[in-house]
Symmetry: C2
Subunit: 296 residues, 2 copies
Amino acid sequence: MRNFDEYKEIVNANLTELIPELPEHSAVLGEAMKYSLEVGGKRLRPALLLASCEFAGGDLDEALPYALALEYIHTYSLIHDDLPAMDNDDLRRGKPTNHKVYGDAIAVLAGDGLLSTAAEIVCKGPLVYINDPAKMANHLKASAEIMQRAGATGMVAGQTADIRGESIEPTAELVRYIEEHKTADLITAPVRAGLFIAGASEETLSAFTTYAKAIGIAFQILDDILDVEGDQELMGKTLGKDAEQGKCSYVYVHGIDAAKEELHRLTQEAKDSLAPFGDEASFFVELADSLETRNN
Amino acid sequence: MRNFDEYKEIVNANLTELIPELPEHSAVLGEAMKYSLEVGGKRLRPALLLASCEFAGGDLDEALPYALALEYIHTYSLIHDDLPAMDNDDLRRGKPTNHKVYGDAIAVLAGDGLLSTAAEIVCKGPLVYINDPAKMANHLKASAEIMQRAGATGMVAGQTADIRGESIEPTAELVRYIEEHKTADLITAPVRAGLFIAGASEETLSAFTTYAKAIGIAFQILDDILDVEGDQELMGKTLGKDAEQGKCSYVYVHGIDAAKEELHRLTQEAKDSLAPFGDEASFFVELADSLETRNN
């Protein structure tokens, strides 16, 4: 296994490889898609996919297209989320958001284009193994996992609940639903997809699903803590918007101290779930720790 | 083979079968997705998929999920296209557009949800045949075909060119690019996908691809003719918007008489491409004729 920065470097080196070259008539679509990809990012989701696949003995090159698809899905969700129709954010990762650069119409289409390209990648990926049905099936399981968790019962449901939370008094249950779906689903998807590609056992899948869900919820809670206490320059986006827009968050419902406790509890839960794998899972244990202490 | 209305009836009877039931927190997403599906429509794309599959000896039940996925993709594209950020339409099929009912944010998400659900359907579809690798591969070819033509080199590229056409003086080349990608790609996709599912020959695929592209371009040209000459009540949407918004269309570039000639020429080309199949292809020949004379 490699370290996180090595996976991130692989993702960055191949980031726009699967974004199509387009003729003049539609070239701006490709430019807008690439703009938001290249503006930066942790590359957490694709790195998790590559790492999970290698952890279970799978091949990095096989996993790479799916890893890129995950980053395309994550990026589409940010572009649409930043639209004036949604959160109306001008700044993302310290740079102007997609619609500030390309206008609202192209930003809608850039998001649609990224999601579509991800779907195209995960449909074409298994076809490479048309003469190896077992492998084709493993890849297809990864494809279905990614599209399900990104979809109407996953991330999009979480985004919807988040919008709804702006107009009702948030409950603890609603907040957890948002954390699980808006955020944790798209962190669980790459972990499980990487394991599917490698043909991992049910036991491994189960343990890592617990891990991924815990770090995913923790990730959202820390985002909400940083929205209150974070450094705007480090975060690269406008902070304090949650409270302003009445967004429901763990911090809003339970208070900042309880949020920090929950962040720590979930990080511990994530690490505990991988105890059976001992040192072999150290990549994931260290990642959970570093995510708990991130400041951006 | 059945007639068009029979296929349409099958589609309507199953239309929302694959839209997920959602808990209260995100229920509005499912409602918004269903609203735009149920507001009506020709069901041209799913009917084409079912008919193509049956024409080539395939099974209707196998094809149905893909047919629904096509209608979900078509519907998502209309929801996003109608947004204030895009065409800003209040009326679609005689009913208020999605964002007029649910607001812009939920309309963005309803579109995302429909596209995601379609992607989920076409990834899970082939997995049903995990013990029949040849069939799994045929289904997967249908999945890849659908997502490619719906995607960043297909329909989304066409939408982008359409937006671009609002701000530049349209050329004949740009107009054809828009017709091919915005419209014909999503009419070609179901025809080819249906044939893939049935395991049709290369010759059949090739002839029907010519057919589908021709009726697809013809469909867009007639839409542009009807935007000028159509009956607003029959069409169920605001007409005359193309000229007003400076949209590039065949009518704008070549004039209305030339548009009618091209519509007729393309319809003939479509029918000619199926001549080798004789009466067996009469469903598709009659469909081409009826599309040439539609008034909505």
